[in-house]
């Protein structure tokens, strides 16, 4: 399978998003997005709603409603040429309609981020040994690692979530653990989702890392062994530090995937961004506004991740190693 190729595709893909992140407008949007989130979370989680009530938006709807109706009237009076004004009016209408839901969605964004970050970080811990086993392992470890990867890449994430939640005793076990579901520690469904994302993402991450390890020249390990490092130490101190840098572009891609696929956790009752949106929509029937809004929030998350990974890549860049994004 074209893993090498998919890494390249990943790289170009992310470079695309990076192209957008070069634009000051995008940077500004992402900065605004995070300011809002952080203030919102601080108010809701830490200050217990001290600044503003938990369910009240920071932004008033009235001005937008007013703008929308004024512009709507204007568009109507302009007749057929009024359609651009009509669009702007529609945009304000959209803003006015979505603002009341922002506080609840911000809570969903928090769960989405937590889910993604934990999933990818824990997945990474599994992915590294998996990929090393694929590249340097013996027949047995290699086939175990391959079997794992094929299994998780060959079945839908949704099916994995379902099996783990409804068809295994996982929830029972996690539920019995101390502290789960108390205070700010989420209940078992969230942790089952984390486990699913961890297992699934590990399979994908290991593929990216594997092809990156393969692109470290063989001579590097030979040279490491020649100064007396054992094979394991040579891999640890020489091959991995290089391979992981090569893996960053593909890995960033996986991060973006995970942000989006975290929405599937709603199927097992995790109250992340999609679930929140869906819940509000099924009460209010404002599907279009809410899901456009959710789409924009996801997009902001994805752009943030691209920016972050670009920064990480710059930070760990070493002259002559891997692809520097610029």
């Amino acid at each position: 399978m074209g893993t090498q190729e998919s890494t390249t595709a990943g790289r170009t893909l992310r470079a695309r998003a990076a192209g957008l992140t070069d634009q000051p407008l995008t940077l500004l949007t992402v900065a605004g997005f995070w300011t809002w989130l952080v203030v919102r979370w601080t108010n809701d989680f830490l200050l217990d709603g001290a600044l503003i009530d938990r369910n009240t938006s920071f932004f008033p709807t009235a001005p937008f409603e007013a703008a929308a109706s004024t512009l709507g009237g204007l568009a109507a009076s302009l007749g057929p040429v009024g359609f651009p004004v009509g669009w702007v009016a529609g945009f304000f209408e959209f803003l006015a309609a979505s603002i009341p839901y922002l506080p609840q969605l911000a809570t969903g964004v928090w769960a989405t981020i937590l889910l993604t970050v934990l999933g990818i970080a824990l997945g990474f811990v599994i992915a590294v040994p998996l990929s090393v086993a694929r590249v340097y392992g013996g027949t047995l470890t290699r086939s175990v690692a391959l079997g794992y990867t094929e299994l998780f890449r060959g079945t839908p994430l949704l099916a994995q979530l379902f099996v783990l939640y409804f068809a295994t005793p996982l929830t029972t076990i996690i539920r019995e653990l101390p502290a789960v579901g108390t205070g700010f520690i989420p209940a078992q469904a969230f942790w089952v989702a984390v486990i699913a994302f961890m297992l699934n993402s590990a399979a994908y991450q290991s593929e990216y890392i594997r092809s990156a390890l393969n692109s470290v020249p063989e001579g590097q390990l030979t040279a490491a062994r020649a100064i007396g490092l054992s094979k394991v130490d040579g891999i640890r101190h020489v091959v991995l530090p290089q391979g992981l840098r090569y893996a960053i572009p593909g890995w960033s891609n996986e991060l973006v995937y995970l942000i989006k696929y975290s929405s599937l956790a709603s199927f097992i009752t995790v109250r992340e961004l999609f679930e929140r949106t869906d819940a509000i929509a099924s009460e209010t029937y404002r599907y279009t506004e809410l899901f456009v809004l959710a789409g924009l929030l996801y997009l902001a998350l994805v752009l943030s991740a691209s920016l972050l990974m670009e920064y990480v890549e710059d930070r760990v860049a070493i002259p002559g190693l891997g692809t520097t994004s610029r």
Binding site: G219, T222, A223, A224, A226, I227, V238, L321
Partner: protein, 250 residues
Amino acid sequence: MSDPLLALDDVYKSYGEEQVLSGVSFEMDAGDVDVVIGPSGSGKSTMLRCVNRLTEIDSGDIYLDGDCVTDADTDVNELRKQVGMVFQDFNLFAHLTALGNVTLGLRKVRGMDKATAQEQGYEHLEQVGLSDQADSYPAELSGGQKQRVGIARALAMDPKLLLFDEPTSALDPELVGEVVDVMRDLAAEGITMLVVSHEMGFARSAASDIIFLDDGRIVEHGPPEQLFQNPQAARTGEFLSRLETAHEEE
């Protein structure tokens, strides 16, 4: 006299069907500089790699300082601490600075603390005239500088023996000189070196012995004067004459 520092005794090695080394035997004493020459594919690299067991031999024995190092129970990592190696295409650790390349072995193999390792690392970079490039990454160095870091890295482990596999053949002609100069200095300091190289200038002026390998066998082995002026085997003369014309043109 004491034991030779390195002795190969009837070493055989094949890859599948292909016999690469066929009964190679020779000895070298501490302080010797032996230069191995021979046509492409004659087994020079293989012979070198057998000495520090990057390649395992099929039969025969290799002794380092009197100890048989080809026993199954030899600790290869221990052996490799005593036998440094310099590669044709440098193989510098691409993610580490020059200093990092030199100190990695000191820290992770010799277990030195960072400060001591860096101090020693600097000394070795000094030895190859590169202390001012300590913080440069491999990609920022010229070929000659890379190879000098490669030499410093090998020296840092304080080996009994240094192996060089065509250390200058990946270099642009104008950069060969700086590396050869460093090797000449090392020879003068009495470091034992086994060098695969066709740098005839170096061989003439620094080699104790020249070993001519052809098709996995040592065809001729003797001091440079003898080999160059008065080769015993017809094959040696032929090879040398081709070497001369090729290199004169540079």
